[in-house]
Symmetry: C2
Subunit: 470 residues, 2 copies
Amino acid sequence: MSDALIQDLRALIGAPHVLIGADLAPYCGDWTGHYTSAPCAVARPADTAQVSAVVQACARHGVPVVPVGGRTGLVGGAMTTGGLMLSLERLNRIRDIRTEARVAVVEAGVILAALQDAAADHGLYFPLWFGARGSAMVGGALSTNAGGSNVLRYGSTRALCLGLEVVLADGQVLNLMGALHKDNSGYDLRDLFIGAEGTLGVITAAVMKLVPAAQAHATAMVALDNLPAALTLLNRLQGETGGLVEAFEYMPESYLRRLAEARPDLDPPFTPRPAIALLVELGATAPRDCAAEPDGSLPLTSLLETVLAGALEDGLIHDAHIARNEAQRRAMWHRRELAAEVSFARKPLIDTDIALPLDAVAPLLERFEARLPDLDAGAETLAIAHLGDGNIHLTIFPSHDAPDHADRIVALLEHEVQTLGGTFSAEHGVGLSKKASMARRKDPVALAVMRQIKQALDPQNLMNPGKVLP
Amino acid sequence: MSDALIQDLRALIGAPHVLIGADLAPYCGDWTGHYTSAPCAVARPADTAQVSAVVQACARHGVPVVPVGGRTGLVGGAMTTGGLMLSLERLNRIRDIRTEARVAVVEAGVILAALQDAAADHGLYFPLWFGARGSAMVGGALSTNAGGSNVLRYGSTRALCLGLEVVLADGQVLNLMGALHKDNSGYDLRDLFIGAEGTLGVITAAVMKLVPAAQAHATAMVALDNLPAALTLLNRLQGETGGLVEAFEYMPESYLRRLAEARPDLDPPFTPRPAIALLVELGATAPRDCAAEPDGSLPLTSLLETVLAGALEDGLIHDAHIARNEAQRRAMWHRRELAAEVSFARKPLIDTDIALPLDAVAPLLERFEARLPDLDAGAETLAIAHLGDGNIHLTIFPSHDAPDHADRIVALLEHEVQTLGGTFSAEHGVGLSKKASMARRKDPVALAVMRQIKQALDPQNLMNPGKVLP
């Protein structure tokens, strides 16, 4: 079956772009190390018409199609055994940047950092920021509705997308490539395909929003001792800056301690080490914020100082350090960006990607920490959070390595998350890794509706089968 | 069939809430005067469980269900002949306002103005602003993805919704009532039901975002002579204020002239009357913008003055008047808010609701104005626009009243809109009035996908049948 497919694909897109055998190696693993793929081949079509031809060939031969982009996903969403990997890497053109309309028309294989560089040439910014931005592609970000550190200001990938082109399961091309801020012409198909992880079709192109590039940032590390105070600080910062908060990242004492062990030079200058450190960043475009004062100070920095001084006076926070130059700012971010490395250094571990309503983050952490010892008295936790979105990457280090034990811990966490109205899947997607959680925790009516839609749009079940839906 | 249904409904929700005969009168017309309804009955369930029971009863009896809210829609979306009107008016509880999380949990029958009043008690604002806000309900706004004057800052209704509850065609209750800023647990069902105009299910409750209430506004009328200059001004204002633009409304000379005829007192103080007048408004929460200076001036007003002075100096605009007090601000808004009255005073008319990419608004108006005389040398036009969203309410006054003639004019407009990547349906929805446009102009592949989804979720075709899909 796959031999016949491979012959067809060679005719359709050219033999050099149908990889088999040893050439598959770079596509078979992923960053997490948890998942391995064994595709029958990797196809690298050049454009939307070729993607359509490839998908039609797969439909004829009954072979699953698994779209892959930068392979930076964390949930096994681009793995396959026996299916065809359809790599979007050659659809890498930035077709247009319309400066006045502030949109970019891009193909799915454009790397996020490349789009950011291209936007910068126009004084604009594509505001999707996460560690893998040098490898992750627009199509993958759309397929997983990727998040990151700037979501509280600009939204997740879905909020940054105005238009979409999708190759459907039967090879037809769905053209939703509008650059419109208002469009009520029927059902919102765009948002249905965004975040569907390739299970409903292959995203081939998109119209993405750009924003004016920040002309200045003001960045601080803040020490405080409880999460409700952090939420009050966030709301105060949003009100007093007029919504300029671009990042509001949470690092608890347990993380700072591990960070200091690994990198003593990066220990934040708070004595004693606080219960909570926040990385707060404002971004501004307005001259009144960005034009240096005669004494060299930046108004945006002074504004952040004023708000933090008020919070200090009111007992909301204990201490704060403001970055005085770009090197200090980079050092503050470095503390946050080492989170994955520090978290994943110890094994065994359970990593999670939960989100809560903003006012339920504190209760969740309290309840889980209180109940975890019942299951594992020696377990430790490490919570890093995009606190402005209520999104916590909670890593749990159980005292011993056993799948049943890990499952019980995850079940406890999920129970507490669900009770507080949260989700087990915030920004990484479902893929393979959260399918069991979908089965356990998602509203059964919602699951049934999702299956009806999947069945309607992909009756052969060939579009990234076995992902997302349990 | 409907007699048996009515007996069932009386048993399910109580006879006083099943209206028939003369009691139907208030539900049979709408504001436009274009559409009339002849329902078999109006059911007014008290809660979600009763909505579910009503929908199940309709499914048993094979009677269509047409949800109605405040009946302020403009596209005939809540009309029926023989179906059951399901009024959400008794689901009018604001269940919760969570101040720190900045969300409101509301039932579908809550009137927008009531939610705005309730939010104001917490120092917050529900930022959906249009003329009918005193009658329109949250459920209707969600079902039509309503827009309005503040979309450029806060988005359409879809962007304001975090969670949703929907009664499906079989009566099952879909619970998506999260208050989450990130949630990637499967397909985005929420956004599928938003804007579906009741054709996929009945929205019964929602979690809506609130924002900090503006502490000050700065408002101006600006005179200029071309649309590209207006877009440059918009981008400059966004950059120099850091995104504080809440309204950017377009009124051309043709409107100002008619307005002056009807209301000489409201003629803007520009001599001569400019080609274009803009209503520009900034809104701010930050003390640095909102705290009066020692001389009594408002920093936000000074900021607007500075930007407009720069635009004047650069020749972008000809003149500007800034509101010095709330009365002047109200007068400026009054000019804009009389648009519907002024536009609809003359007959025959063709009213439209188009949107274009921001950089395509000027070409659209130029092309259409240039070609319209080929069809009707005596026709006049009047364009009022939410220019910040690219959304134009273009009213055309043909020289004679004939349906074929009107159709040809609409076809010309739609052709030019489509060529420039625009939509024939921006913020009012499709309902009955834009169905022909859907058939003519929507991507056929998109229409096919919509029909597959409709068939999958409403196989009996009882949920507001005959709307949206041609």
